[in-house]
Amino acid sequence: MSTRNELARANAAVETRTGEPPEDAVAPATLALIDTYLRDHPGGTERLIPVLHRVQEELGYLPFPVIKAIAERLGISPIQAYGVVSFYHFFTTTPRGRYQLKVCMGTACFVRNANSVLEAVRDTIGLEVGGVTEDRLFSLEQVRCLGACGLAPAMMVNSEVHGHLTRNGVRKLLLGLRAKARKPHTGGEGDNG
């Protein structure tokens, strides 16, 4: 978790400092991550999806310069790599929240009122599907079936599934996460403010 934030910050820092076209703006740490992965997994272009997974796992998203760097290393055109990124729902080119909320919109959840979960998220933290909160704490997506139909309606927070959700349950869960996220950092920000 912390590596992800560090890398994302490092990337952002490089982007703002150079002010150059984003092609050159990939943090060395990210390049190292890509190179290490490709070295440990010898092969050809079939490594594109796995390496995209690996990088998104760390950065939380796939910035264009990173996609381009990966394409160069695999010997394919950037547009080919981008074509793959844009084809699959799992990949995203915009930053996600620290807590990624994925509300299941599968049939079982649909039958058990998954819409109320989306509404509860909107009412509690003001997020619409596809959005990220300003503090980048939460992002909201709807997904097609988590396979947790026994728990319908269900939502995934990062890789943890929460089931049998009620409006109130969603509210408590989100407020709890927000409180938890604020605590460890109070030394730097909270006390002064």
Binding site: V84, Y88, C109
Partner: protein, 631 residues
């Protein structure tokens, strides 16, 4: 006692045989089969659903309570795969007693140790029980949910610890692979599969033995074996549970296929949404390699085979085999026209055998128990069993494996325990977005590949969503169309454009803006898309609409002709009114109303201005006294 040491050294055939002898009774007892001298164990369901209900904490608590008791070191806690009855999780089973405990929390865990294990009396208020119509209280393996099932693919789910390769081996695991390596010829294996009547469990039902033969006979020195675990149908969780609960059964099936077809590399394609399945499969692959059951020279046979995991990236169309293969190659997952079939030109244009998770898990039992045993189960053309993920408006949500030919009524009323909240059974939706709806009137039809097709649905991979009278069939069809519009890869116009037009028509119907001719257009368009689409996604996309049009035409007519939604689900067609009697005048509805349509004084009846009402239903959902009526 059934002490199980982790295998750090390779398992040779002798060690495997010893394991099977030593642990057989322990594991038979867990599965509720006759056994003698089995040690007492506590089985905790560590399937995905139970874990979400904190079953891991329950297992830890059981261990703590045991360690602090007089039973310290004498009773093991085993974290097993999905037991199936997700609704009642977390589940704990006391073996060999065969007592099931449901919805166990930490307190319950302590009571199971103190009352059941130490004091020797069943904790009856936690026990899973079912009141039979004749007044008997059924418990344990007699509960209809378990008693009506026949487990072949799921034989080890909920019985073994998926992380312990020894436990899989002890359930005659890897014995079929041994036979294939040392006793049976490839043609004998293919003949066995053919005469068993096994058909692909991914949905289309192609005879598996024939597929294996095509790949075996296809010319080429490099071939591949692929497991399709891209379980994309909303409402389906069979593959996930199998990969989580018994990963070795899939590995063994694939290794057998490698030997038979002449492939040395296999791939398992799993959805990214299933992190636990990926983790457990990965661990199982490592264990199998360490044990010498994967890799070079398996069990000294000279045959080498290994498997890699490929993680999907959220594209429904990748469940289609040609799209899945493109995705493994690192490309956009767009389908290819067939022929050529993957059996001749698959992964990297080489002959490729691709089967679904459940199909792979069924291979070893068929070879061990014989094709006649398998073929004796089921109907004339559909043999064996099928795993269904039972969900929706049903009491016992969960995973069930039933013989082909069972009736929908048995699944819903006996195994599923009926419809909750006093509602009535309206229909079952099978086959996910590619499938259709089976009306309650057809509940007595024997389920197999053919009968479902005749009803306008498909077997599909096994998602079975039960619908009650509150579900609007038009809205359900719209829901699936919306899904398919989003998931259409865009390669062929009938699917890309046709589904979009169908969705527009359905939206008009649910909003009350449609004209009678729209229904005919919908039907004609649906047939056209079925005939002209490139792949299975498009060819089956209209099924949800066509099957509901066929079985629930009156509901469509009510929307179009009368502007009415009989199930009360299409918000735009509902009129909201506040009833005087229950209204407490709390004003919550007025606060929630986004259009300011609700007025009234505190503690007095509130009124909705129908001119201003936008039919959003916010008032209905916030009203604490159920005073808002929608008709």
């Amino acid at each position: 006692m059934g002490e199980i040491a982790p295998a750090s050294a390779p398992l040779d055939r002798k060690t495997l045989a010893e394991l099977r002898l030593r642990l057989a009774d322990t594991l038979r007892a867990r599965a509720g089969e006759p056994a003698t001298g089995a040690p007492r164990e506590l089985l905790v369901c560590a399937g995905g659903a139970c874990i979400s209900c904190h079953s891991v904490a329950v297992a830890d608590e059981l261990e703590r309570a045991l360690a602090a008791s007089s039973l310290a070191g004498r009773v093991r806690v085993v974290r097993v795969g999905c037991m199936g009855l997700c609704e009642a999780g977390p589940l704990v089973v006391v073996s060999p007693d065969g007592v099931y405990y449901q919805k166990v929390d930490r307190e319950g865990a302590r009571r199971i140790v103190a009352e059941h294990l130490i004091a020797g009396r069943v904790v009856s208020d936690l026990e899973l029980a079912w009141d039979a119509p004749d007044g008997r209280r059924l418990t344990g393996h007699e509960v209809p949910f378990f008693a009506q099932q026949v487990k072949i693919a799921l034989r080890n789910c909920g019985v073994i610890d998926p992380a312990a390769i020894e436990e899989y081996a002890a359930r005659d695991g890897y014995l079929a692979l041994e036979r294939v390596l040392f006793e049976l010829s490839p043609d004998e294996v293919i003949d066995a599969l053919k005469s068993s009547g096994l058909r692909g469990r991914g949905g289309a039902g192609f005879p598996s033995g024939m597929k294996w033969q095509f790949v075996r006979e296809a010319p080429g020195d490099e071939k591949f074996v692929v497991c399709n675990g891209d379980e994309g149908d909303p409402g389906a969780f069979m593959d996930r549970s199998l990969l989580e609960g018994d990963p070795h059964s899939i590995i063994e099936g694939m290794a057998i296929a490698g030997r038979v077809t002449g492939a040395s590399r296999g791939f398992v394609y799993v959805r990214a949404e299933y992190p636990l399945a990926i983790e457990r499969l990965d661990n199982a692959l490592t264990a199998a390699r360490r044990a010498g059951l994967l890799g070079e020279d398996i069990l000294g046979s000279g045959f080498g085979f290994d498997i890699e995991i490929r993680i999907g990236a959220g594209a429904f169309v990748c469940g289609e085999e040609t799209a899945l293969l493109r995705s493994i190659e690192g490309k956009r997952g767009t389908p290819q026209p067939r022929p050529p079939f993957p059996a001749q030109h698959g992964l990297w244009d080489k002959p490729t055998l691709i089967n679904n998770v459940e199909t792979w898990a069924s291979v070893a039992p068929i070879l061990l128990r014989g094709p006649q045993w398998f073929a004796a189960i089921g109907t004339r053309r559909s043999k064996g069993t099928k795993v269904f993920a039972l969900a929706g408006a049903i009491r016992n949500t969960g995973l069930v494996e039933v013989p082909m030919g069972i009736s929908l009524r048995t699944i819903v009323e006996e195994i599923g325990g009926g419809i909750p909240s006093g509602r009535s059974f309206k229909a079952a939706q099978s086959g996910g977005p590619s499938g259709g709806c089976i009306p309650a009137a057809a509940a007595d039809v024997a389920i197999d590949y053919e009968s479902l097709q005749e009803l306008g649905s498909i077997m599909g991979s096994g998602g079975l969503i039960i619908l009650d009278d509150r579900t609007c069939m038009v809205e359900l069809a719209r829901f699936f169309l919306e899904f398919l519009v989003e998931e259409s890869c865009g390669k062929c116009p009938p699917c890309r454009i046709g589904t979009r037009v169908m969705l527009n028509l359905l939206e008009r119907i649910t909003k009350g803006e449609a004209v009678p001719a729209d229904l005919d257009t919908l039907e004609a368009l649906g047939r056209h898309i079925q005939r002209t689409s490139l792949c299975g996604l498009g060819q089956t996309a209209p099924n949800a609409v066509l099957s509901t049009l066929r079985h629930f035409r009156a509901e469509y007519d009510a929307h179009v002709l009368e502007g009415r939604c009989p199930a009360g689900q299409c918000k735009a067609l509902l009129t909201y009114t506040i009833l005087a009697e229950p209204c407490s005048g709390c004003a919550l509805c007025a606060k929630a109303c986004p259009s300011g349509a609700i007025t009234g004084e505190i503690k007095h009846l509130h009124v909705i201005d129908q001119e201003l009402c936008i039919h959003c239903g916010a008032c209905l959902s916030v009203c604490p006294t159920d005073a808002v009526e929608a008709v």
